[in-house]
Symmetry: C2
Subunit: 339 residues, 2 copies
């Protein structure tokens, strides 16, 4: 078990290292924080912390830097979430309030988050499976060509063009549209498949039945395809603040960011709407081994419809970052609820 003071030393090391980006030594520590003990004592504590794996020294005669395990302890036990100041909160709200549609909300959120945290921001679009259907529209583009438009309660819109096996009358189309909407409007996307299962049987003409089946299968396909979520990324220029060693450091991170699948998986793993911090090697993907990811769910109601967060160096200001992420998520949720 670590004594109270040793934890205090660890906290001081993390704070100093995050601030200066340089290994911190015993003397500098006692000068910047009044721990009430001498450097020699701190050295003993540091040796103990190193034995336990919370800190490490890059080379024999250098100061210490926190390990992933050290950051983990810091985040879990030693640091809180730093709340945003009132002016910051106002700025967030003002900035997000100007958004005109969903794309714009997401784009603004990314910019905002990148600016607040000075790191790379990631925002997932509201997922279809957790949203509810606002409306399904069918448009006749040509006698045997229909456009399917899906509109969600979060403002997301998906559309597909369908080639029908045989021409489909305007009346039948209107009929199908009405039936579809009465069944699925207001329901969750996840429930749609079973709700429309028996729709073709409601039509008498065999040709119509075939067409209806085609339309439905496209609808279901869309649901499945779009379950692969989309996301928007911004603030990559902040990566250049990392360290001065880069191309090596920055390269794999940029690559990982382009592989959106990796990020989506990462976001998906996190517990539903809870704030989650993944540190360094806790992240399975190799390119992100020297980064940390702070994420949280956001949504219009109590439930999360998607996640957002930031990617930064393990050496980041965790309390501040967590505060910004939480605040932004909260306001985005409000905006979505209003629209």
């Amino acid at each position: 078990m670590l004594s109270e003071r040793r934890l205090e030393v660890l906290r001081a090391i993390v704070q100093d290292y995050v601030g200066t980006e340089e290994p911190v030594g015993s003397k500098a520590l006692t000068e910047r924080h009044n721990l009430g003990v001498s450097p020699a004592t701190v050295r003993n504590d540091m040796a103990a912390l190193e034995d336990e794996g919370f800190i490490a020294q890059p080379h024999t005669s250098a100061g210490r830097i926190p390990t992933d395990k050290g950051y983990r302890l810091f985040v879990d036990k030693l640091a809180g979430v730093k709340p945003m100041t009132a002016p910051e909160r106002r700025a967030i709200q003002n900035f997000l309030d100007g958004a005109v549609d969903l794309d714009d909300v997401v784009a603004r959120t990314v910019r905002l988050l990148a600016q607040l945290t000075r790191q790379v921001a990631v925002v997932q679009y509201p997922s279809l499976t957790r949203s509810t259907v606002r409306h399904v529209e069918l448009l006749a583009l040509a006698p045997a060509r229909v456009m399917l438009v899906l509109i969600t309660d979060t403002g997301r819109v998906e559309q597909r063009v369908i080639d029908c096996p045989v021409p489909f009358g305007e009346a039948s189309l209107a009929d199908l549209r009405a039936r579809l909407n009465s069944r699925v409007a207001g329901r969750r996307f996840a429930d749609v498949p079973q709700l429309v299962q028996d729709l073709p049987e409601a039509f008498e003409e065999p040709e119509d039945r075939a067409t209806v089946a085609t339309v439905l299968s496209t609808l279901l396909e869309t649901l499945v395809e779009e379950t692969e979520e989309r996301l928007m990324i911004g603030g990559t220029a902040n990566l250049t603040r990392f360290g001065h060693d880069f191309p090596l450091t920055i390269r794999p991170v940029l690559e990982a960011l382009e592989e959106q699948v990796v990020l989506l998986k990462l976001l998906g793993e996190a517990k539903d709407s809870a704030m989650t911090v993944r540190i360094g090697h806790e992240i399975a993907h190799e390119g992100l081994n020297s980064t940390s990811v702070v994420s949280v769910g956001y949504g219009s109601g109590g439930e999360a419809v998607a996640k957002l967060g930031v990617v930064g160096p393990t050496r980041m200001d965790y309390p501040g970052t967590m505060g910004a992420v939480r605040a932004v998520a909260r306001y985005v949720g409000q905006i979505l609820a209003e629209s």
Copy 2:
């Protein structure tokens, strides 16, 4: 006037420098290209080229590198566009053919272009102003709440929620929908404003007129707002291949890329659908002073609806890049025409 051989020397310098990323000297030049003259002669030619400002030496005792002006001459007079090979063309087509909707087409195009050129790819979404209206849909979300959905011939969809001053009957809504579509379907977005100008007068009830006016003003607003085009960027990881000096080099480029406005302006300046190359300082934006931008318009018919291109170091393989950009634009055009 530069003699034929001197131009040949410039071409050789550009090619070697692009290949090796190192200043090229007179001896190496004569060894790699059989110019039929000795290094001493080449030195004289190089001195002349330097006097004219086509090449420069980084330090006194180093080889020469092309200047922006040198690349310009190379692109305009000395190099053609390198056509894609048949397998490459097939790969492009296969890759793009799998796209399910407009977002997907754009996303795939970005990936493809980044991969082919190993540089940063930029694809502009088809612009609204140059597209034609496929359909306008109005949905009653609530008695006094209407959703407006705009669908273009390029597959792009825009939607807005409108709060009406007074409740609007389903019959009036259907009426408006029909009138709107009969006027604007198949027309260019740019022409919409004047086409709908007198629509409110077609309605008798004063309340309806007010509502119609509200809907129309939202419609026109959408057109204006969306004239600010959107674009998608990819392949930023390729920036790390630039040189080994970076953070300094890469930083401003990443920042410029996030400022989409800059890129949009740049793309907008280029002549309509023609292939355009901007080199180094020809680009007004400071962050992009050491990059070149190759862009071209693409579209479903003969006319360009938007642009796409790549951003890379001035030291890039121009013929190859231009070939890839042109080929991709061509196939994207085809895909859009089919959908």
